[in-house]
Assembly symmetry: C2
Homo-oligomer: 350 residues x 2
């Protein structure tokens, strides 16, 4: 029997828990959704008030459909399908204590949009190394999807990726609701890199705005970011095959359509959103805040900050010409003046 | 000697006249710019106040650099390079009375973003049929460029297209200024179709907003519009070669990079601009106004309205699957309820 468990109680974890409770396939089996919470207080709050205390508070739950627990090990043992939606920076803390065989025969569905610190790897690479999770058991859920619009039940598209497209489709069916359309593809590495890259470009869009570039320039910048992303994904896909990494079943990654929503759509929603943390952070840097000052002011680290370093390191192997990501990395990590960084980018744009 | 003349005194014609007056190559020859105005009153106003009376009034001119005239024939006779920036709907009225040989040895630079009514052709096709203008003398200036940002001298990118890239580069050099970066390509048909298609998709983005779709959906919609545009351009490029139309020197149109600013960038700036007439028009249609009522209320016809019919007709030859443009055409021209049109589009999105 199918049993879903969600690890992650931020906005996106909450949105995914809500989606699963509203899927008719799961409803027809009377299957409750396991949902990991860090504290008993968080559980008590949801049970009393029918919504998460701090994140996506407008998403209402029927708590009869939920099995709330602070026991991560128990959750994993009791579930067949584990949805992971925690910030990439917390993954090691959360999972490192677990027994090595705990994910045996489990289906993992990752909603993580970032690389793991220190190792600079994707979640599937970490799970393979640490827990022997085979790539065939690993899937991702990605796509342009502000959690707030899930709470408001406005139509959104989620893309499920995995090495086996049939298995992928089966999983996607558990997330289909009247307001979630699901898509599938087999580019499981590419969609994860795309989700990391878009945050860098959103920081860049913010910097451009802070430097007082206008809408004409912004559109050129984002179009070129889409192109740079496609070049990186295409070449990194080939590299994965060349160097014999675990790979998807698709050996024709060259023909991937990078205009699809999981690539271009996610880039657009992130770069054009005025509420994006990455864009806000970039805007402050463009206006002259130091990176540290902007982070202090925002009381958080925008994902694009770490992402720019992750991709810089990764690109030492992939070796794609990516002047946009490269200059943003230099601005954020090596004190390149933002004005100069964009002067470097300007002549590369087509 | 190079002598530029600009035909068109709307926002975009005014912006192009301003750009030419600020180009150092032309300044170094002390070459004034001919600029056609419809009335002596318009000329008097510019000479007295140093700006256009009705359009892009913030663009200031040094009138010593301008030769203002209401005599179109004289302008063409005295110029080597003719910039045409009038609405496509007015082209026949303006040019039909001219002698058949008037454009002999003239270089035409078209800024027209639309097809000519009745004949449903591009400007170069009309000029070839009516005035025997060879494709080698015809160039376009396209790209994501709100005229307002030219007036404000914010960095923008313009793409010049023509069958001969060397000649194209020479022309582009006359439009380069500190705030205009110029690019070239040889896809002279494709860039014109792209400029027409983007208006259809901007109407669509407006309809989606009017129907209360959110940002998640909008990003999926626009990404798929980019994909649909690329499919159309690719196939129409091949068709131009197959059917032996006058063609560009590029026989490898399949490899055109449709993420470039003249394609994707222009689509983005048009679809995401809240000030776009196409988007405003679509929004009203999405909210339930009839097409006629929306046009009356706006006191104008959005370009995307006619464009949707032009592309529909053209696609009877090209035969690309384009569910977005097709449904928008049905909504605007055949009373398909907008809600139903988007229900048709939804399952086609990737």
């Amino acid at each position: 029997m199918i049993q879903f468990g969600v690890i992650g109680s931020g906005s996106w974890g909450t949105a995914l828990a809500k989606i699963l409770t509203q899927n008719t396939l799961l409803q027809s089996t009377n299957s409750s959704i396991y949902w990991y919470q860090r504290t008993q207080a968080a559980i008590d709050f949801i049970q009393e008030r029918n919504h998460n205390q701090n994140y996506l508070t407008t998403a209402q739950f029927n708590t009869k459909q939920l099995i709330l627990t602070t026991n991560l090990k128990q959750l994993i043992n009791n579930c067949t399908h584990i949805v992971i939606a925690v910030p990439s920076a917390y993954v090691l803390n959360i999972f490192n204590q677990l027994p090595q065989n705990i994910f045996q025969n489990k289906t993992i569905i990752s909603a993580i949009k970032g690389m793991l610190p220190n190792t600079n790897t994707l979640l599937n690479q970490y799970l393979a190394a640490q827990f022997n999770v085979p790539l065939n058991n690993y899937f991702t859920v990605m796509g342009p999807c502000h959690a707030e619009e899930v709470a408001a039940e406005r139509l959104s598209y989620l893309t499920f990726s995995g090495a086996q497209v049939n298995a992928c489709q089966t999983i996607a069916n558990y997330f289909t609701t009247p307001y979630i359309n699901t898509l599938i593809n087999d580019d499981v590495f590419g969609v994860q890199y795309a989700a990391i890259l878009k945050n860098i470009y959103a920081v860049g869009a913010g910097i451009a705005h802070g430097l007082d570039y206008g809408d004409n320039f912004l559109s050129v910048f984002i179009a070129n970011a889409a192109d740079e992303m496609a070049s990186f994904l295409q070449k990194s896909g080939i590299k994965h095959i060349e160097v014999g990494h675990e790979q998807t079943s698709n050996t024709q990654q060259k023909t991937t359509n990078y205009a699809a929503s999981v690539y271009l759509g996610d880039l657009l929603v992130t770069c054009y959103s005025l509420h994006s943390r990455n864009r806000t952070f970039g805007n402050m840097v463009g206006k002259g805040y130091s990176v540290k000052a902007a982070q202090l002011e925002m009381n958080m680290v925008a994902e694009g900050y770490n992402a720019s370093k992750c991709i810089f390191l990764l690109n030492q192997q992939v070796q794609v010409n990516m002047p946009i990501a490269q200059n943003i990395y230099q601005i954020l990590w090596h004190n390149l003046p933002p004005r100069q960084g964009f002067k470097n980018i300007e002549p590369t744009l087509i």
